[in-house]
Each structure stands twice: as structure tokens, then as C-alpha cells.
């Protein structure tokens, strides 16, 4: 949908700039970008995510003015931020809760993409860049969580860096290089701080590519039929700027609810205990947004296989455009696949629930001894991979899809957009 520019510079100053660097043109074209007229609120999360990134960068840079990345001082410096730094009591929870909101939004954004087939041609690269952003977000969040140097920070870092040790042949050297020593310690913390500061700007660059890609091919829409004429679209501004602004305001309400009233609800109380290499917490748990992967990791007995499966769960996302064989984009018109998708979403929640518990604990009290979380994790993990590797390819071939509307406008007029 990358049409020609509609910008006509009015003033001499504008023309002067436009001739040398078309940045105003860039901005104007962005605002006037023809967007499908049937986008629903699920499509607001892209804008919400941009806001999350900016907010995390701003609060992060500010916190970095007061934080000290040394093992003896890190925990204390954050307490100082919360107690002594003007508005530190607000900035620190904004950053911590902001990370959770960022992941909440990215999961909604990804589920939206799955449902409407936004990863299908010609949007494969757009989807892959999105997966890269997701990977970078996970790395950033992991690095950031170690910085408070609480018990969970330290032991979470120990567990995750331990993964690298499991890689055959090069594993131990790689882990030694990563840690800067034989275990998580002062060199580790310092370099994690540096990388945590760096990665968000890598994300920023990836987001730039992501937005460029979506502007080049045009946005997908709920019926998965590409816009055929001008009638099918609306100017991004003011239609979607105002719709996104409203969605952002509601998002901010939830954000504020957590920041002001429940700042520690999404965290773990053990992280208020200073890191102690001599004492392991009873349950090492990552933040909620990593729980599904944690469940997959612990579902299998083999350490290496668990790590492979865990990373595999992310890798499988990258190849999704080639796994799904359906010609129809939107699951609105794929009635059976739609149900498999709904079960997939449930499986993700189930994995998250499992990740929060010890594998040997009883999840469902049925049968003689009850079903453990390990068993439930295995079932959900099987479904997770089955959905991508079996269900999507097979359903694409065999499903009889519902008739797809001819155009967006026709669907809108029929009340089906």
C-alpha cells in the first residue's frame, strides 16, 4: 500500500527543508496513511506498544541516573530511589510495572496477528521482525530483572545463564565468558546493566523497520481482504490516531491502577531480600511473562531437551508464515481452525499457570495421586507445538473455509467487517 506522497509544501521554509530532507513529508504521509476502515480495538496495540517502549526508555534513562550497578550498592541504590530521590517512588514502579504492561500488550498484539493471519504473504518479514523484537524484549527484561540484585534477580540469572552451560562442547566456555567468572557476580551485574541500557535502542531500530514494513505492505484487517480501492480505507489521522488515543487512555488506567495501588502485585516478595549466593529461595520463579516458557523448560526431564524445547517454542514463531498453508488469512472465515486457536490461547494460559508452580505439585486432584503440574505442562506443550507444526499445516489443506467478502467496503455495508 505504499502509494505516492500527498504532501504539498505550502511555505518557502517547508520547501527548503523538503528539498534537503523530506522529514515533514515523512510525517505528513504517516498521518495520512490509508488504513483499512474496519480495524477494531485489537489493532490499537501497535500504538500502545510504541508508547510502552518510549515510556520504558524515558523512565529507564532517568532511573539510570540514580542506580549503581555494583553488587554491594545496587539493592541500596534502588531503595534510595524509592525513598530519597524526588518522585523516585513513582518512577521505579512505572518502570517495573511498565515492563509487565509491555509484555501484556505484546502478547495481545501477537495473538491478534495469529488470529487475523497478519503473518501471511506479503507480511512474512513484518512478522519475523516482530519476532526479533519479541526476542530482544525478552533479553532486555531478563537483564533488567537482575539489576535490583534481589534473591530472584540473582538466582534467576544463575538459572538462565546455566542454560548456556548445557550446550555441548562450547557450553562451559560460553557460560564463563558470559558471566565474566565462575558464577553470577559483580562482573555479570555490571555488563548486564550495560546491555540492558543498549538493547532498548536495538528494539527501537527494529520497531522502525517493523513500522516501515507495515507501511510498505499496508495493514492487515479483520477480514483479511486487502483494500481494493480508496473506499476501503481511511486516513490514519484523525480516524485511527483518535481511536488509538482512546485505547491508550484505557491502557493507562490499568497501568495507573498497578503503579499506584498494586506496585508489587506482579513481582515476587523474595526480590526484596538482598541477593545471597549461599541461600537459594524455595521456589525460583521468573516474572509472569516468562512463565509459559518456564513450564515448557521443566516439562521434560532432560536439561538439554528442555532448553531446546523452550527456545524451540520461540523459533517456531519465526517459521510460522511457512507452516500455515491456508489461503484465507482471517480465522473469522476458518471456523474449525478458530477453535484450535482458542484452545491454543488457553494452552498458553495453562502453561503460564504451570510455570508458577513446582512441577511435582498436584495441579488437578483426579485419579489416584492427582495430576502433577509436570503432566499438565507436557500436555499443554504438546498442544503448543502440535498447533504450529501439525494443526496449522493440515487445517490449511483440509478445512472448508467460509466465503470471504469481496472487499472491505462490501463487508462493512453488510455489517460483517
Amino acid at each position: 500500500m505504499s502509494g505516492h506522497s500527498t504532501y504539498e509544501p505550502k511555505y518557502a521554509a517547508e520547501r527548503w527543508i523538503d528539498k534537503r530532507l523530506p522529514i515533514i513529508r515523512f510525517g505528513v504521509d504517516f498521518m495520512h496513511f490509508p488504513s483499512p476502515r474496519n480495524l477494531n480495538y485489537w489493532y490499537a496495540f501497535g500504538a500502545i506498544l510504541s508508547l510502552c517502549l518510549i515510556a520504558q526508555i524515558i523512565t529507564g534513562v532517568i532511573l539510570a541516573m540514580h542506580y549503581t550497578p555494583h553488587v554491594d550498592l545496587a539493592f541500596d541504590s534502588i531503595q534510595r530511589i524509592k525513598r530519597d530521590v524526588p518522585f523516585g517512588w513513582l518512577l521505579q514502579p512505572m518502570h517495573a510495572v511498565g515492563a509487565s504492561m509491555f509484555f501484556f500488550a505484546v502478547y495481545v498484539h501477537m495473538f491478534r496477528g495469529l488470529f487475523y493471519g497478519s503473518y501471511k504473504a506479503p507480511r512474512e518479514l513484518l512478522w519475523i521482525i516482530g519476532c526479533l523484537i519479541y526476542l530482544a524484549m525478552m533479553a532486555t527484561a531478563f537483564l533488567g530483572y537482575t539489576l535490583p540484585w534481589g534473591q530472584m534477580s540473582f538466582w534467576g540469572a544463575t538459572v538462565i545463564t546455566g542454560f548456556f552451560g548445557a550446550i555441548p562442547i562450547v557450553g562451559e566456555s560460553l557460560q564463563y565468558w558470559l558471566l565474566g567468572g565462575y558464577s553470577v557476580g559483580a562482573p555479570t551485574l555490571n555488563r548486564f546493566f550495560s546491555l540492558h541500557y543498549l538493547l532498548p535502542f536495538v528494539i527501537f531500530a527494529l520497531v522502525f523497520l517493523h513500522v516501515w514494513a507495515v507501511h510498505h505492505v499496508g495493514q492487515n484487517n479483520p477480514i483479511g481482504v486487502e483494500p481494493k480501492s480508496e473506499e476501503d480505507t481511511l486516513s490514519f489521522h484523525p480516524y485511527y490516531t483518535m481511536k488509538d488515543a482512546f485505547a491508550i487512555a484505557v491502557f493507562l488506567l490499568i497501568f495507573a491502577l498497578f503503579v499506584f495501588y498494586l506496585p508489587d502485585a506482579l513481582g515476587h516478595s523474595d526480590n526484596y531480600i538482598k541477593a545471597n549466593p549461599m541461600v537459594t529461595p524455595e521456589h525460583i520463579v521468573p516474572e509472569w511473562y516468562f512463565l509459559p516458557f518456564y513450564a515448557i523448560l521443566r516439562a521434560v526431564p532432560s536439561k538439554l531437551l528442555g532448553i531446546i524445547l523452550m527456545f524451540g517454542a520461540i523459533v517456531v514463531l519465526f517459521i510460522l508464515p511457512w507452516l500455515d498453508t491456508a489461503r484465507v488469512k482471517s480465522m473469522r472465515f476458518r471456523p474449525v481452525t478458530k477453535w484450535f486457536f482458542i484452545i491454543f490461547v488457553i494452552a498458553c494460559f495453562v502453561l503460564g499457570w504451570c510455570g508458577a508452580h513446582a512441577p511435582s505439585d498436584i495441579a488437578i486432584p483426579i485419579g489416584e495421586n492427582g495430576m502433577t503440574f509436570k503432566t499438565v505442562s507436557r500436555i499443554a506443550t504438546l498442544y503448543y507445538f502440535g498447533f504450529f507444526l501439525l494443526i496449522l499445516p493440515i487445517m490449511g489443506w483440509i478445512e472448508k473455509t467460509k466465503p470471504v467478502p469481496e472487499s472491505i467496503t462490501k463487508a462493512v455495508l453488510a455489517g460483517e467487517a
Binding site: R37, N38, N40, Y41, D76, Q79, R80, K82, R83, W89, L90, S100, F104, L234, P238, Y239, M242, K243, A245, F246, A249, V250, L252, L253, I254, A256, L257, V259, F260, Y261, L262, P263, D264, A265, L266, H268, S269, D270, Y272, I273, K274, E282, H283, V285, W288, L291, F349, G352, W353, A356, H357, A358, D361, V412, L413, A417
Partner: protein, 267 residues
């Protein structure tokens, strides 16, 4: 229209609930039995009880401070807005007579300006509370191998928070058996705590004349420690209220703007 809007709210609320439930579930895994108390500082409009905090400070000083530090607290924190000894006429804690007097009761280490030797001197508001032990090893050695945890974050650092701290203080049962060097405590996970019961009726003589029962002292010191872990709670909740009102109005205005912009457009 209402349907879509309502659906969005429902989904978002549902997800938030699920998140909270998930978080709650992690925390529910290992609890001793805790008596549940309706603390005045809980809830969206909670505030700290100033008199209780002052009494709690006295309990901390006279009972707990010999073993437990409050590393993140300084004396000037006591005189800040929301703190136990705040004086509206002297908002700067350095001018607060009570804070200055309380600080003087403590000895802190310092360096002699001429000789460089280590000395001790009475504390001033700018000082942090002194540590009872110079390091963790000394702390453990004096306490049967267990390090007494820092109390300035204890309410945040334990599942159950204030209920947990209060429970530890009140749930000793000396009738029950416990191995040498430990005591039975129903609130402590595993029930065998190394700390001997720190409080007994009359352990402290309150300055305001309140009867110092075990229960009273437990509640008071918990109130003080709740403040110590989260001194900005009151300003946070107040600001939150204003922010939520603002965002609610702003959302409404944006919704009306959105409706106005889309008026007459089929979608």
C-alpha cells in the same frame, strides 16, 4: 458500540484478574497460619496510624534494634511527611526537635577529623540508623547461626507482609516441642524459628501511656515497619486517586472525540 467497548473492558479486566490470581497463587504456596488483621494502611485510601508508628518506633529501638538493623532508614526519614514524627511547622527534618532528640539517643561510628581514628558519636538526623553488627558473619555468630533479617524492608520481603510480621511476633507456642536452639512459631514456614520470643507483656513502657501488651506492641511495631518498608504509600495512593480521576475523564473525552471524528463514517 457498547458491546465492543464492554467486551474490551471485560477482557482487560479478566486478564488483569488472571494475572493477579496467578500472582496470588504463587504466594499461596507456602504459608504458615497467619491471623488476618484489618490494617488501617491497607486499601486504596489507607493511611498509617501516626501514634501506632511512634509506639512501634519505641519497640524497635528498645527491643529489636539490638539484633535487627534497618539499613535503608535514616533518622531524617522519621521527620518526613507521612513519617512517625513529622512536624508540619518544621517540614525539614533537620529542624525537627523531636527527630534531633531521638537521633541523639543513638551512637553511630564516624572518623575523627584530625586523627582518622574510628570513633562513635551521637547521631544527627542526616545519619542512617546504625547497624547492630558490622557484617553478616558477626550477625550470624551472635544469633545461633541465623542472620536476623533487615527490618526496613521485611514487610515487603515476606509473603503475607504485615500479617506475617505480626504473626511471627504473636504466634509463638512455647508449649509445643522444638529442637534445641529453636522455638515453635505457627506463622513461620516450617514452624521452627531461631529467634526467641522477643516480646512479652510490659516489655516496653510506652511514652503515651498505652498499655504495652504483647498484642499491642506487635501491632505497633508492625505499623512502624510497614511504614519503614513503604514510606511513600500515602502520597502514592493520594496521587493515584487524582491520576485515576484524571485518566477517567481523559478517557471519556477521548471517547467522545473518537465518536465525533467517526460520525457518519461506516465501519
Amino acid at each position: 458500540m457498547l458491546n465492543k467497548f464492554g467486551k474490551k473492558i471485560a477482557i482487560v479486566t479478566g486478564l488483569s484478574m488472571a494475572l493477579l490470581a496467578g500472582a496470588g497463587m504463587v504466594q499461596a504456596s507456602e504459608k504458615g497460619s497467619l491471623p488476618r488483621i484489618k490494617w488501617g494502611f491497607q486499601g486504596p485510601f489507607g493511611t498509617y496510624d501516626r501514634a501506632a508508628m511512634q509506639r512501634g518506633y519505641q519497640v524497635y529501638k528498645e527491643v529489636c534494634s539490638s539484633c535487627h538493623g534497618v539499613d535503608h532508614l535514616a533518622f531524617y526519614h522519621l521527620g518526613e511527611k507521612g513519617g512517625p514524627f513529622y512536624d508540619p511547622e518544621h517540614p525539614n527534618p533537620n529542624d525537627n526537635k523531636v527527630v534531633k532528640a531521638l537521633a541523639k539517643d543513638w551512637e553511630v561510628t564516624d572518623i575523627d577529623q584530625d586523627s582518622g581514628d574510628e570513633i562513635t558519636r551521637p547521631a544527627i538526623p542526616a545519619d542512617k540508623f546504625p547497624k547492630p553488627f558490622p557484617n553478616a558473619i558477626a550477625a550470624a555468630a551472635s544469633n545461633g547461626g541465623a542472620v536476623p533479617p533487615d527490618l526496613s524492608v521485611i514487610v515487603s520481603a515476606r509473603e503475607g507482609g504485615a500479617d506475617y510480621v505480626h504473626g511471627i511476633l504473636t504466634e509463638y507456642d512455647l508449649e509445643k516441642e522444638a529442637p534445641e536452639g529453636t522455638y515453635f512459631n505457627a506463622a513461620f514456614p516450617g514452624n521452627k524459628i531461631k529467634m526467641p520470643p522477643p516480646l512479652a507483656d510490659g516489655a516496653v513502657e510506652y511514652m503515651d501511656g498505652t498499655e504495652a501488651t504483647l498484642e499491642q506492641m506487635s501491632r505497633d511495631v508492625t505499623e512502624f515497619l510497614a511504614w519503614a518498608a513503604d514510606p511513600k504509600m500515602e502520597v502514592r495512593k493520594k496521587t493515584g486517586f487524582a491520576t485515576m480521576i484524571f485518566l477517567f475523564i481523559f478517557s471519556l473525552l477521548l471517547f467522545m472525540t473518537y465518536k465525533q471524528v467517526w460520525k457518519g463514517v461506516e465501519h
